[in-house]
Amino acid sequence: MALEITEVCVGCYACEPLCPNEAISAGNPVFTIDPNKCTECLGDYDKPQCAEICPIEAAIVDEIGDPLNPLGSLTGIPLHLIEEYNTTGTVVRN
């Protein structure tokens, strides 16, 4: 079992020092988790620390690719507005 960092990572270093297994390394463009070291924090913390502090929705996913912080879960922005922003780079208000 191991978590993975996706391409939406902004490389902010928040997760790196928190990992109890030192499994996270800085990378360009995104950080990576060493699957051989990651324990998903079992035995150390209630929840995986990288996902607890990560500010970017959908940046950390589990083995089957499900995000630990789904879209909208951290900001509270409605999904249709996130989608509009991600496709057009803005949100048009009426």
Partner: protein, 497 residues
């Protein structure tokens, strides 16, 4: 010593002119501070309105991680062409940051201050932040170090801050009420858990207040930043101002919310509106009391370089500084000379202002009303910018006895180059809109077309005071209008409305 230009007293209910309002951070408004504090801020552009015309600052972006989320921030901070807090072109290592600082300090001797302000929270990146401070305090002892923080990790960092001789700390405090906090901060990261809503906001507020008390009890200067969010915390900030002042903060900086949909922030996407310049001024006036309010903040990037109104970051990118050879020992001698020259000039100006003046006897002339005057300036405290090149205008309120600095109005320059002046119509419209409440505009030069449009909008353009000191020019303009009887009546509604 009370000087004639500025009053530090609380505004009267009427909210009238200069004589009835607390002033900004003009030198005189800092006059009530003890000498040892005053000497700490007089060359700090972010703490002294006077200093910001002459001294420069820089931020190094060594702190990308954050431990909270704010609804006005988008953590996708990589952005090269916008001017707002929390964005940077490149995050750097402490090693690179030190190199950049030495290169800038040598090239811009007016640079007195190095701050770490993000693009995350400096104290959420303690190793990177303190490594940078430790090395700079050794290698560049003539540079002041300062830091700004959301306050969550502040109590545990106070000892370390004191160790590196950091005597200026800015805490962003937007509220003291967890219910309001939950509308600004969706979550915090605390003791290995993400905590949402009111519970998270409550912890954040407690840590901010505790940190503030710990810093002031050690004599570390604290400035409090607050973001004015209409309908969320605007009224509440008056209470915040009273509380932080009582706890020893010496300067309060109420800044307008920046919320464009393109920035991708919660507030931007959800359509939370920004305050207008006049709403901001009114709130700053109500907060002022006898505490100094900062009016000259430019809400700069977390990697800004130069005078507050400018950004010279492009000249000091990592690849460019790699090629620079810096002899800091020599640079420090040159820097000391430049600082001494500026300080002497400022002291002379202060002495002139403080000198006894011939006071006109109370006349039976009718009282004249205060007006707002906008200035185009590149720095140095003089009117030295063309209207078409200005990216911002400094706004002063002037009345029969004095003046006070109200703030700046940002804009897109009317004349972006030889070719785009013709496209200036919409740009001009926006500039005029940004000058709401202003009746006179002074620039070193103003073109024919914008001249006519400004006049039409009720703003009198004036190029006669080019290269004059701002304070002398606004006094002369006011006195001339008053003598002509143009300021006897209450201001009429302007065409700009």
């Amino acid at each position: 010593m009370e000087l004639p230009v500025i009053s530090n007293s609380a505004p009267e209910a009427s909210g009238g002119g200069c004589s009835s309002s607390g002033c900004g951070t003009a030198p005189d408004a800092l006059g009530h501070l003890p000498d040892h504090i005053r000497s700490k801020v007089q060359d700090h552009p972010c703490y002294s309105e006077e200093a910001h015309h002459y001294f420069a600052r820089m931020h190094v972006a060594v702190a990308p991680a954050c431990n909270i989320q704010c609804n006005y921030c988008n953590r996708k901070y990589d952005c090269s062409n916008e001017s707002r807090p929390g964005v940077v072109s490149e995050v750097m290592s402490p090693e690179q940051a030190v190199k950049k600082t030495l290169a800038v300090a040598a090239a811009i001797p007016q640079m007195t201050v190095l701050g770490i302000a993000g693009p995350g929270d400096p104290l959420a990146n303690p190793a990177r932040t303190f490594e940078t401070f430790r090395r700079l305090s050794e290698e560049a002892p003539d540079i002041k170090l300062c830091v700004s923080t959301n306050g969550l990790s502040l109590p545990q960092s106070v000892d370390e801050l004191a160790k590196h001789n950091i005597d200026h700390v800015t805490i962003t405090i937007n509220t003291v009420d967890p219910e309001i906090g939950a509308k600004i901060y969706p979550w915090i990261f605390w003791e290995n858990k993400r905590i949402f809503g009111v519970d998270g906001a409550k912890i954040l507020i407690e840590q901010q207040q505790k940190g503030l008390e710990m810093l002031t009890s050690r004599g570390i200067l604290v400035k409090v930043n607050s973001v004015m969010i209409p309908g969320v915390n605007d009224e509440h900030l008056k209470e915040v101002s009273k509380i932080v002042k009582a706890k020893g903060a010496f300067l309060h900086n109420v800044m307008p919310l920046i919320a464009e949909a393109e920035h991708g922030t919660y507030y931007g996407i959800m359509g939370q509106r920004e305050p207008t310049p006049l709403e901001l001024e009114a709130l700053q006036d109500s907060c002022s009391g006898d505490m100094s309010m900062m009016r000259h903040c430019r809400q700069c990037r977390a990697d800004a370089v130069g005078l507050l109104g400018e950004d010279r970051g492009e000249e000091f990118t990592l690849d460019k500084i790699d090629e620079m050879e810096v002899d800091y020992a020599t640079a420090m001698v040159e820097r000391a000379k430049v600082h001494q020259a500026i300080t002497s000039e400022l002291e002379m100006k202060r002495a002139l202002k403080a000198a006894p003046k011939f006071e006109a006897e109370a006349s039976d002339k009718p009282a004249t009303r205060p007006i707002r005057i906008a200035i185009a300036s590149k720095g140095g405290g003089v009117i030295n910018e063309h209207f078409g090149h200005a990216h911002e205008f400094l706004v002063y309120e002037v009345d029969s006895v004095g003046h006070r600095f109200l703030g700046h109005r940002k804009c897109t320059a009317y004349c972006m180059g030889d070719e785009s002046c013709g496209d200036g119509e919409t740009v001009l419209g926006q500039i005029i809109k940004s000058l709401e409440g202003v009746e006179v505009l002074l620039a070193s030069k103003i073109g024919f077309e914008p001249w006519a449009d400004l006049e039409k909008a009720g703003i009198q353009p004036n190029g006669e005071h080019a290269m004059e000191p701002i304070e002398e020019a606004i006094r002369a303009v006011y006195d001339e209008l008053a003598a002509a009887g143009k300021l006897d009546q209450p201001a009429t509604a302007k065409a700009a409305a």
